[in-house]
Symmetry: C2
Subunit: 546 residues, 2 copies
């Protein structure tokens, strides 16, 4: 329409109007006619353009209808069943016209006729380019595409072509996509607190940039977890998290274990010591389970023989350390014992080795992705006939004393000395994974079976990775008389735990087990340094959201 008032390039040929004349002069009439003609032409031109625009809009709506129907929102209007492809599959699709849904990781316009889009799906990315082409891609379309916000989700139709040279900014660098159609599926309606590129930046890159503000702090990440989780590193971390659970189940399933689900709402606190969360339960109160300990043991008393559970565990401990959460995933198991509790310890050892092997054999790609941002010495464990390193608590203390720690400090091994022991063990035995057996009875809960020959010791063990505890377990007392006696010894009134005791009065096989913290295993295997990075939406005394 603006063109309607544009000047023509023709020079003025008319004579100036003469004042005082009663009627329009000839020249005036001629001028008016010409102006009318001009307006008419302009109107025609405008109409034609309007018509063209309408045709174009209709054509675009037709495109849209092809995918979405005529409504702007993706609301399941139609179902043409056109398959979408994964970016990872593109190298094998050279020459094909494909359809793919992806995020705009970033974009760069080149002049007004071309835009480069880095398209991302989870951990994979590819370069797409959109070039003005007659009847196919308009200049407006390129402009619009170049203006789409980072993190927008788009549907792209395009032809896969070999890249002239390897594209280093994409994970799939041998091909690129020449875009013929582009639709916006979901836009970005808020300022990005940081980009996914920011989230994936390594320490080396931050230092090279000389700008410390290029580092996205953990709290910022957790406050904006939805975008943080889109990073390559996080996509890899949570693939590995799921893998640990799968490997845990596979191993136990093949060893005759059955999965159980025990209630997290408890009528009474089932373990003394650790603090529990209280819940309003109708007109009364309840507690959140600190572990499935009692339920697992009752399953054993009910002849389930070998059980495991994967479920949340709640700890009302007001500690904001790098390795404590108020809610974490417990991988728990319990099994009957035929002769000796080392049957359980060896089962657990087999379980860990199977997890380590599984991760190394099938998830090395993801481990490498995480290592870029969290550099770590490769996690080491002992293979072959010598097997996993097993120390008694006493031997562990001796190693620390040899290393210069005062024996008086070592009634228990605190976090600092645990880490020191980890370093000693790695230097001496070349392993990041080991077991400490035979803990002093006074360090363990009342239900732990005492050693048969030395009642100050117990049939219990902890497992360690990189100098931090990841599993605690033991043979449990299955005899209600001994259990009562041990309760009294620890100052617990047996009547207050009657439900627990009753579980054993009708006959219970000897048994033992252990509980693994999923997030700890993940944190230590990958050396993430903070357990919050190993939890999808972590909970600590100060964080309940998102």
């Amino acid at each position: 329409m603006s063109e309607a008032s544009e000047p023509t390039n023709q020079p003025p040929t008319e004579q100036p109007e003469v004042e005082g004349q009663t009627g329009p002069s000839k020249s005036e009439l001629k001028k008016r006619a010409k102006a009318a003609e001009k307006e008419k032409k302009a109107a025609e031109k405008a109409a034609k353009q309007q018509e063209l625009a309408a045709q174009q809009a209709a054509a675009e709506a037709d495109y849209a209808a092809e995918f979405y129907g005529t409504l702007p929102l993706h609301q399941s209007q139609s179902r043409p069943r056109q398959p979408r492809v994964d970016i990872a599959s593109l190298p094998s699709r050279d020459g094909e016209t494909v359809l793919l849904r992806a995020r705009i990781h970033n974009s760069r316009a080149q002049g007004s006729k071309m835009v480069f889009l880095n398209l991302r799906q989870r951990t994979e990315s590819v370069q797409a380019l959109m070039i003005v082409a007659p009847e196919k891609v308009s200049k407006q379309m390129v402009k619009w595409a170049a203006g789409l916000a980072t993190e927008s989700i788009v549907l792209v139709e395009g032809v896969v072509k070999k890249s002239p040279e390897i594209i280093k900014s994409a994970t799939v660098g041998t091909v690129e996509v020449e875009v013929s159609k582009l639709f916006l599926i979901s836009g970005v309606e808020a300022r990005l607190p940081f980009t996914v590129e920011d989230a994936d930046r390594t320490e080396a890159e931050i230092e090279a940039s000389g700008d410390q503000f290029n580092r996205v702090l953990l709290d910022t990440r957790l406050n904006n977890r939805v975008i943080d989780l889109r990073s390559q590193t996080n996509q890899a971390i949570f693939k590995i998290q799921a893998a640990v659970g799968d490997l845990f189940r596979q191993f136990l399933h093949s060893n005759g274990f059955i999965e159980i689900h025990s209630p997290k709402l408890q009528g009474a606190a089932t373990e003394s010591g650790a603090s529990v969360f209280k819940v309003s339960y109708f007109k009364g109160g309840a507690f959140l389970a600190q572990s499935p300990q009692l339920a697992k043991q009752m399953a054993i008393a009910a002849d389930f023989e070998r059980v495991y559970e994967i479920g949340p565990v709640f700890r009302a401990e007001d500690s904001n350390t790098h390795r404590h959460l108020t809610e974490f995933m417990g991988l728990d198991l319990e099994m009957t014992i035929e002769e000796h509790y080392h049957e359980v310890m060896e089962m657990l050892d087999g379980l860990f080795l199977s997890i380590f092997h599984g991760l190394r054999d099938k998830y090395q790609k993801e481990i490498d992705v995480v290592n870029k941002q969290f550099p770590a010495e490769e996690f080491k464990w002992r293979e072959g006939p010598e097997g996993t390193l097993k120390l008694s608590f006493k031997e562990a203390v001796d190693l620390l004393v040899e290393d210069g720690v005062a024996r008086e400090e070592l009634d228990d091994i605190n976090t600092e000395n645990e880490k020191r022991l980890g370093r000693i063990v790695r230097a001496k035995y070349e392993t990041d994974y080991y077991i400490i057996d035979k803990f002093p009875m006074e360090l363990r809960p009342f239900y732990t079976m005492p050693d048969p020959t030395d009642p100050t010791l117990s049939n219990s063990y902890d497992f360690f990775m990189r100098g931090e505890e990841i599993l605690s377990g033991a043979q449990r007392i299955h005899d209600p008389k001994l259990l009562e006696q041990q309760m009294r010894g620890k100052g617990i009134e047996p009547e207050s735990m009657r439900g627990y005791l009753d579980g054993f009065r009708l006959g219970c096989s000897p048994h033992g087990g252990g509980g693994i913290g999923l997030e700890r295993v993940l944190m230590l295997f990958l050396k993430l340094n903070n357990i919050r990075r190993a939890s999808l939406f972590p909970r600590d005394p100060k964080r309940l959201e998102p």
Copy 2:
């Protein structure tokens, strides 16, 4: 020792003592000498018997040491590595000497020289007999064995022998075990509230017995769950429960889903409507998640593409029905949509068919065990090209109206009409499994995507088994503007759910999903009639223990 004072069988040969004599008479002396002799012999005999008893005790301790060491309690004293066998494997071990740990299911002494023991391991049982045999099995041992309480756990050594005839009281009836050694591992220290035989009794057996007190009521079972769970029926139910979880994971894993774990502690109630449990959280408060809805959707917004979660779900609804628990296991999933929400509905349909097939193909034995106590028409579903029955909400209403229900009653389909519909559908379509699609928008939560052509309808569905809902799901709104609008429409102030809304402001793919109640699937597949039977330790408004 009692034998020391026993009379000899020799007749008295001495003369009677004469009164008034100052010294012992000859006969008296002879008598005394004889008595002394007799005492000496008796003492010698007693000593010899003591020695024999000691030898026997030592021998028994040696037996014990062989298995347990010398302590009475199974406390991991030694580890001879003698393998234990399963009862199920006994038919292939004819002639072998085996060692097995089992419960005494019941026992029956036959005279003083023989005892029959019915030994049980989980769902399997076998007859063992212990017969007095010189140098091997003493009369005392038989007596002791016969006196062991039902449900005691014993370690048995014996020879497997073909039974003279099939033993009907045992599941393994072709062989029996001739016991040579028997040790008590764990005794019973309380009165049994009921036996496992009681727990497994069928309605037919109860009626045949003419004694209604032979029925163990559900509350009694749940109060004594540890013994109740030992029944064949329960062992089978919880094997099937674990199988449902395994089949769920297998199907989703093979369809590219990843397992996530979301927190149950929430800073704010994430869904309006249903009531939530409040938790004391340090100096503030928190809520227990009613579903992983928001977390699943945030995982989609974080590009996880296809996620599932198996975890507890908490509902503070004060309803004591046959199908409500305050804590149950949610099998939840969420996935992105390319074109139409029926992609999700079909994925869920495939999932259920895969679960049904898996159960039928691999767990028919367990299903048959449960059916003995809970008779049910075989669960039916539609196979082949016609596929699962899918009705729209409107079609479901029409079926009920045709059947005589007043249309005015059917703004929603209540529990009673749901069951009626189940009967109509079974009669008309020969299936116990079907889908109802296109629920009215007003029956669904604010985050449900409206139908594109009729805003009073929604892109949502429920799945049914035997006329009861087992899954509820929908396409969700991924557009924050529409989401706000819908919140307002339902009277929810968007600012009160800011965290939820923020999850979608940075771009989110169209998506949908659903949540399955594990216990409901189990209850309805097996027709257990009460959801408490499908939960290991059920929780309802009145039950928090065991």
